[in-house]
């Protein structure tokens, strides 16, 4: 099966610094992927490359097998994009934005968009600039979804929203994913929000991929263990270690068969499963330490 999104040694340089380098990932169709990383990790660069807004310095990006930077109408029609701060033409009414969507996209489904926005109580005759932040985000999402894209890319869609708007947005997104079978790539700082929506994780830091896999697999493949400090050096596959005077907390990558860890470890070690947030933070901290 063709991957929804495939990158091959993808690199993007701005001036002298690389925003993204040697990035090779393959995201299966139908996945909802959380793209996580600190500011400046290269998330937005990766998304702009996927949408064809940037041309890679090196490597390739393919969306359903077709080069994303070809810039062709067909390539553009396959990807829906909600950019950071969900920009809209503020002087246009919601109805005019939908008319724009229909004018500029071959498969645009205006009825669907009107229905979705109507259900959210967003007036079509209101100017976009006069809507609340949450409503603007919903309009931007409706525009992107009504393109009927195969891949939906959302850059920090929740960042500027209050908790209620955040919940509504996530809800709309989840029902759209269920109905349209669209593949989603979504970046966010708020890890808790991602857990409910996403089934796949891609951790990016300083322009390189730190972790890539289905969330369930990733969680199953990691354990948090704590035990005596003097024995900590013998533990294999440590992602991150936190030491106190006598005691060490280790995040360990075990491979999918987690049982094997018990044979290696001294009985004094205690083992517990790891949460998604803890895991992501561990990877980001690790890369900060090793640099």
């Amino acid at each position: 099966m063709t991957a929804a999104l495939e990158t091959e040694r993808l690199g993007m340089r701005f001036g002298r610094s690389w925003a993204l380098r040697d990035c090779t990932v393959s995201l299966p169709a139908g996945a909802v992927v959380a793209l996580v990383g600190p500011n400046g990790a290269g998330k937005t660069t990766l998304m702009n490359l996927v949408c064809g807004l940037l041309r890679p310095t090196e490597g390739r990006v393919r969306v359903f097998g077709e080069d994303a930077d070809s810039g062709s109408a067909e390539a553009l029609a396959r990807v829906g994009f909600v950019a950071q701060e969900h920009p809209l033409y503020r002087g246009m009414t919601v109805a005019e934005l939908l008319r724009m969507g229909r004018a500029l996209n071959p498969r645009f489904d205006r009825n669907l968009a009107e229905m979705r926005l109507g259900a959210l109580g967003i007036p079509l005759d209101r100017r976009a600039g006069a809507l609340s932040g949450g409503q603007q985000a919903q309009v931007a999402l409706a525009l992107a979804l009504s393109k009927r894209p195969e891949l939906l890319v959302l850059d920090e869609p929740l960042a500027s929203l209050d908790p209620v708007a955040r919940r509504d947005f996530t809800r709309t997104l989840m029902s759209a994913v269920a109905e349209d079978e669209v593949t989603v790539l979504l970046s966010s700082h708020v890890i808790a929000d991602l857990e409910a929506v996403c089934d796949r994780l891609l951790v990016l830091d300083h322009g390189t991929v730190r972790l890539d896999g289905a969330i369930d697999d990733v969680l199953a493949a990691h354990r948090m263990i704590s035990g005596p400090r003097e024995a900590a050096a013998d533990v294999p596959g440590v992602v991150r270690a936190v030491h106190s005077e006598r005691h060490s907390d280790l995040l360990v990558r075990t491979g999918v068969e987690a049982e094997s860890l018990q044979h290696v470890l001294h009985p004094t070690w205690q083992e517990h499963p790891v949460g998604l947030e803890e895991l992501i933070l561990a990877y980001l901290e690790q890369s900060a330490v090793t640099r």
Binding site: A73, E74, L76, V79, A83, P87, L88, A103, L104, P106
Partner: protein, 326 residues
């Protein structure tokens, strides 16, 4: 794209129509006044028969002086305006998209951004051309009695009539658009585009334009009684062209130097008939000029320069946007 472009630029179209209405409202009554004065001074008859007579000179000078002020104001006020209009509209095309972040919305719809920009450029240029040509028509009508006396090469005439106004505006539009692309801000792009516009427009008017075609020259009876400049009243019959220089030449065809001419002027100051004295010396008056019938040639050359620069700049913008990413 047509509806989308219209939606983004309709306020500018309304402003353009309002400008046309305003200009028409001002210059329609003024044009009638000019025509009234043209008839009452008998300027038309003078031009038809003989322009050299004392009474005709007086009549024409009186007519020109009556409207010289407004004609000059028109040219001084209106020469930067195409630059300003073009720069504002051009800078907004990409500058606003970048400033408001909407480029990420616009160029992720299903219209490739090169095509998106090309279509917007074509539609906006068409609108600008229509508005500018209409303004030129109004100015041409208003100025036509003046033009019969002072010629269509006068700055207030040449820069506003025919195709030149359109060429200037399109050039400024292209500069604004490219500046918006490179600077990603509207107001700095307007400033840069306007400065760039004036930096090309002024040398063309004051240095390059007179060199488009090798000027003609003619010899006539000598006189020191001549005036130069855009609002000069013609001393010979026929359509007034663009006089570049008057010089006295001697019998062997050599031009008198400035110092020699100055000395002559001293000598003849007190004479009863200085022209006869100059004739006696075997001198002739050499006029170097661009004939009136070259008006359209000059208009086409001027338009080609500015519109050609505009095409180059706009093609650069499209290519860069298409190939470089954003």
């Amino acid at each position: 794209m047509i509806w989308f472009t219209w939606r983004l630029h309709r306020a500018q179209v309304y402003a353009g129509l309002a400008l046309i209405a305003l200009i028409t409202a001002i210059f329609l009554p003024y044009g009638h006044a000019v025509r009234g004065s043209f008839a009452s001074h008998g300027v038309g008859t003078c031009l038809a028969h003989d322009t050299g007579g004392e009474s005709c000179q007086t009549a024409m000078i009186a007519f020109v002086q009556q409207f010289n002020a407004i004609a000059n104001h028109l040219s001084t006020w209106f020469s930067p305006i195409p630059g300003l209009i073009g720069a504002v509209i051009g800078a907004g095309v990409l500058g606003r998209e970048y400033e408001q972040g909407t480029w990420r919305l616009a160029w992720t719809q299903s219209v490739p951004r090169g095509r998106w920009l090309t279509q917007r450029i074509l539609l906006v240029s068409a609108g600008l051309t229509a508005i500018c040509l209409t303004l030129s028509l109004v100015f041409t009508w208003f100025r036509s009695p003046m033009d019969q006396v002072t010629g269509r090469f006068a700055p207030g005439a040449f820069d506003l009539e025919g195709l030149s106004l359109t060429g200037y505006t399109l050039f400024a539009f292209a500069l604004g658009l490219v500046a918006g692309l490179l600077l990603r801000r509207t107001v700095p792009a307007i400033v840069v585009a306007f400065a760039g516009f004036m930096a090309v427009r002024m040398p063309v008017e004051f240095w390059l334009r007179q060199r488009y075609v090798t000027p003609a020259s003619k010899l006539s009876a000598p006189t020191l009684h001549h005036t130069m400049g855009p609002s000069a009243v013609p001393v010979t019959p026929g359509k007034p062209g663009w006089t570049l220089s008057y010089d006295l030449v001697n019998a062997s065809g050599h031009t008198l130097t400035g110092a020699e001419q100055g000395r002559l002027e001293e000598q003849v100051r007190t004479m009863h008939d200085p022209d006869a004295y100059l004739r006696g010396l075997g001198l002739h008056l050499k006029t170097v000029y661009q004939p009136a019938d070259r008006f359209w040639t000059f208009q086409f050359i001027e338009f080609s320069i500015f519109a050609g620069l505009a095409v180059v700049l706009l093609a650069f913008a499209v290519q860069r946007l298409r190939h470089r990413g954003v």
